[in-house]
């Protein structure tokens, strides 16, 4: 019975941690816009946390630059299981216009298993909400069914 409650509550209260791997802050502002009155994602129980140790869903933005790569990897490794990694915008997917630059070390998939990627540059808040909902389904499978 407790397991069922925990499963249900895991989807009802996803806490977000936002990692900026060198992004142009376009996606970051849109992500914060989600928490505003217009797109209020707190109704899904979402909360922005200060440390990776409290997080369930990690939002990564920006093409992974050489400087941020190992820091991002260290931070993502510190997120307790079950965790879902969501990439925002096209930069993490394919380093967008920064392809081939000396300081960009390739899309996020090269370093971290990305569960959900949300397209758009920057993705529309509604697209982010869709991505979030899909991430919640993945979060459910990540721990529950196994």
């Amino acid at each position: 019975m407790l397991d069922k409650i925990i499963e249900k509550s895991r989807i009802k209260s996803p806490w977000i941690y936002h990692v900026n791997a060198g992004s142009c802050n376009g996606c970051d502002i849109e992500l914060i816009a989600l928490l505003g009155p217009r797109f209020d994602v707190e109704r899904f129980g979402v909360k922005l946390t200060g440390t990776p140790k409290h997080a369930d869903i990690v939002f990564v933005t920006g093409p992974v630059t050489a400087q941020t790569k190992d820091r991002m990897l260290r931070v993502i490794s510190q997120v307790p299981d079950p965790k879902v990694i969501v990439s925002l915008g096209s930069c993490p997917m394919s380093c967008n216009v920064f392809k081939g630059s000396y300081s960009v070390v390739g899309p996020l998939d090269k370093w971290v298993p990305v569960d959900v990627s949300i397209g758009g540059c920057p993705p529309k808040p509604e697209a982010m909400i869709d991505g979030l909902i899909k991430a919640l389904d993945i979060l459910k499978e990540k721990r529950g069914v196994k």
Partner: protein, 139 residues
């Protein structure tokens, strides 16, 4: 010690919230919204201007020569597109149009990031040289 927003805060309790209940109520987008690319393959002539002009080099063109002509396949990778709509502006045949489709989600199982379109490009027959034409007339 000035306390802003006291009146607004108290007033807001009795007003209904402004949140748009997105997943349950669709959002209407402004016209001219640069969303996902729609590629009309009939109009496209495979000139490749869009590839040259795309900053993020998100467009790739693959050509295979088949029996009835050259099959040109244009591929738009929405994952690396910056939605600047240069391609649709420069396209001479206006074959590329950025639609209102904003929700592009790629997960392990479904991936609607790639927009493909291919057409067969039948080359006009080469003008035979005068002799070949003459020969053909003789038969």
């Amino acid at each position: 010690m000035k306390f802003p927003y006291i009146k607004e805060a108290v007033g807001n309790i009795f007003k209904n919230p402004v949140t748009e209940k997105y997943p349950f109520k669709k959002v209407e987008l402004p016209e001219g919204f640069r969303g996902k690319i729609e590629f009309d393959e009939t109009k496209c002539i495979g000139c490749g201007i869009c590839i040259k002009v795309c900053a993020a080099s998100a467009i790739t063109k693959t050509v295979e020569t088949t029996r009835e002509g050259r099959k040109i396949c244009m591929e738009f990778n929405m994952g690396s597109c910056t939605f600047c709509s240069f391609c649709s502006d420069f396209c001479p045949k206006s074959a590329i149009h950025l639609s209102n489709e904003y929700s592009m989600i790629k997960t392990a199982d479904e991936n609607n990031m790639i927009v493909k379109g291919s057409f067969i490009n039948i080359l006009p027959p080469k003008p035979q040289t005068a002799a070949a034409k003459a020969g053909e007339k003789k038969e």
